[in-house]
Amino acid sequence: MPFDFPAPVVRHQAINRDHFLLTLESPRVARAARPGQFVMLRTRPGHDPLLRRPMSIYRVPPSGRGQVQILYKVVGSGTRYLSGQAAGARLDMLGPLGNGFRPPRPGRRPVLVAGGIGIAIFPFLVDRLLRRGSRPILLYGARCRGDLVALSYFQARRVPVRLVTEDGSAGARGLVTRLLEPILGGEGGEERCELFVCGPSPMLRAVGALAVEAGVPCQLALESQMPCGIGVCLGCVVPCPADADGPLYRRVCTEGPIFEAGTVEP
């Protein structure tokens, strides 16, 4: 059950020029949240911008102090205004929303695949996976070294991380699919893993297709323009494979944002 209340900013750290880690206080959201869910956040008061912005829950710090963290990248005006919110400000926050990840199938090792700011969805998932004794690994692609964030979170927990950047400034050069192919192609055997994927749509399409082809279960975390986040505007839909009645659409906000690869066309 989602809640909607103003949440005080507890801390707001700049990670680099355009990435920020925001800690909000919201015991209700903290208690109810599951990995893969998100919140709708007002970035500042007033009508510019008009709509709230969807943000994955980065972590619910296990301190038990009812905090919720968001890791975000400044890409436009909403996120730029958000980055100006100092500790003490109160931001309207609606959540937790969406379905969240389902736990990995028994016996499968979670392989997390992140593209760019898609990394923000994974620490909360890793917290839970580690508690359940799973041993996830992370494949992480970004445009350049400066876009690789949150690495210390994974290193501190000894989650194996393989990196790739488009310009080769860190890890291998190329796209994240390059890291995935050996894993799907045998390195350990395909029965052994399950993919959790978050990143831009072209990446979701490519990784989803590889997973379907390899017969590996694969959960995709989709993005979409989300005016409401609660299933009523019908604005955030993603096409699904057409049936006899023609194209079918699903709401990313309530039927997702997590979908099984092959069931949607991001």
Partner: protein, 331 residues
């Protein structure tokens, strides 16, 4: 300088003393705030955030004879103080509404209004006939912004004879239900369409629907919306909607539900002063899901503060400049 607070200085008034009820022809609402079609789902989606019984009423997503899946995405786009949508009238269809949605609403003490559209006059009539007499349904609202496939896709609402005809046909098909006719603002003079709706037999007018607009993706050199154009809603359109409400109020003798960009009680009260007997709130539900009941609460607080005993007293209270012409002078 503030005018003295009459409610506060005079004899103390209890919180319950303000009468928020309004009557629009055959329809009585416990308060003047109604959630608008397409922005409130089928009602139950808002149960985590508010009690439906605190609302004057709500209007369902537009219903067609058969279920519709709507347009391809992208379907929405934010604009300055507004948003464009081209949902394409996706909905579960009138049968699923009657079977699955309406029964769940009966236990909530609020007015339920079914929004109806069709691509032909026959479809409007068929949906309205199906809804007539449905237990728990209090009114229907005809969405006349829908493209008329018999007339090359021009919206029903821009042709006065078509408006008159479709309203009259629906009037006959659903004699048992108050008939609200929702006007499109994409017309030279909305009073002309309003008059046609009255002649067709409308009980109540609701206005305005969204304004035609578009957004361009400069990088891709394509329209942002897959549908090319969409409907503009939200605070950006408030001055335009307010003008139209005021105009129809002066020109046509039917009760009005005004809407367009309302996000606060102050906005709602401005619409009422301009001639709305009730208001609908749309886009605000997206960025503030509790807004509708907040507005009800704030309207009551304003009435107490201003010493208004019954909110209906302010409907149409706008004092026009002496000799105000029906159309404004040069702007």
């Amino acid at each position: 300088m503030k005018t003295p607070r009459r409610g506060a200085q005079g004899a103390p008034r209890g919180a319950g003393a303000v009468d928020l009820s309004v009557t629009l022809g055959p329809l009585r609402l416990k308060n003047p705030v109604v959630a608008a079609s397409g922005t409130f789902g089928y009602g139950t989606e808002f149960l985590p955030y508010l009690r439906l019984s605190d609302l004057g009423g709500f209007v369902t997503k537009g219903l067609s004879l058969k279920p519709r899946r709507g347009n391809a995405p992208p379907r929405t786009c934010e604009t300055p103080a507004g948003m464009l949508n081209a949902i394409g009238l996706a909905n579960v269809g009138v049968e699923a509404f009657l079977d699955e949605k309406l029964p769940a609403l009966r236990r909530h003490d609020t007015v339920v209004i079914a929004n109806v559209f069709g691509e032909t006059q026959d479809e409007y009539v068929a949906v309205a006939r199906r809804l007539n007499g449905a237990p728990g349904l209090h009114a229907i609202e005809l969405n006349l912004s829908c493209p008329n496939t018999d007339k090359g896709g021009i919206a029903f609402g821009v042709s006065p004879p078509v408006v008159r005809q479709v309203v009259a046909a629906v009037r006959r098909a659903a004699p048992g239900l108050p008939l609200i006719v929702k006007l499109t603002p994409n017309i030279t003079d909305i009073a002309v369409a309003a008059r046609a709706a009255r002649e067709g037999g409308a009980d109540i007018l609701s206005l305005v629907n969204t304004f035609l607009g578009m957004a361009v993706d400069l990088k891709a050199r394509r329209p942002v919306l897959d549908n090319l154009a969409g409907g503009l809603s939200g605070p950006a359109i408030k001055p335009l909607a307010l003008y139209m409400v005021q105009r129809v109020y002066r020109e046509v003798d039917l009760p009005i539900m005004g809407m367009g960009g309302i996000s606060t009680a102050q906005d709602a009260l401005e619409f009422m002063v301009a001639g709305s007997a009730a208001v609908q709130v749309g886009t605000v539900n997206f960025f503030d899901p509790k807004a509708s009941v907040r507005i009800v609460r704030e309207i009551a607080a304003w009435c107490r503060k201003e010493g208004v005993r019954a909110v209906r007293e302010i409907i149409g209270a706008l004092r026009l400049p002496p000799g105000a012409p029906p159309a404004p002078r040069a702007v």
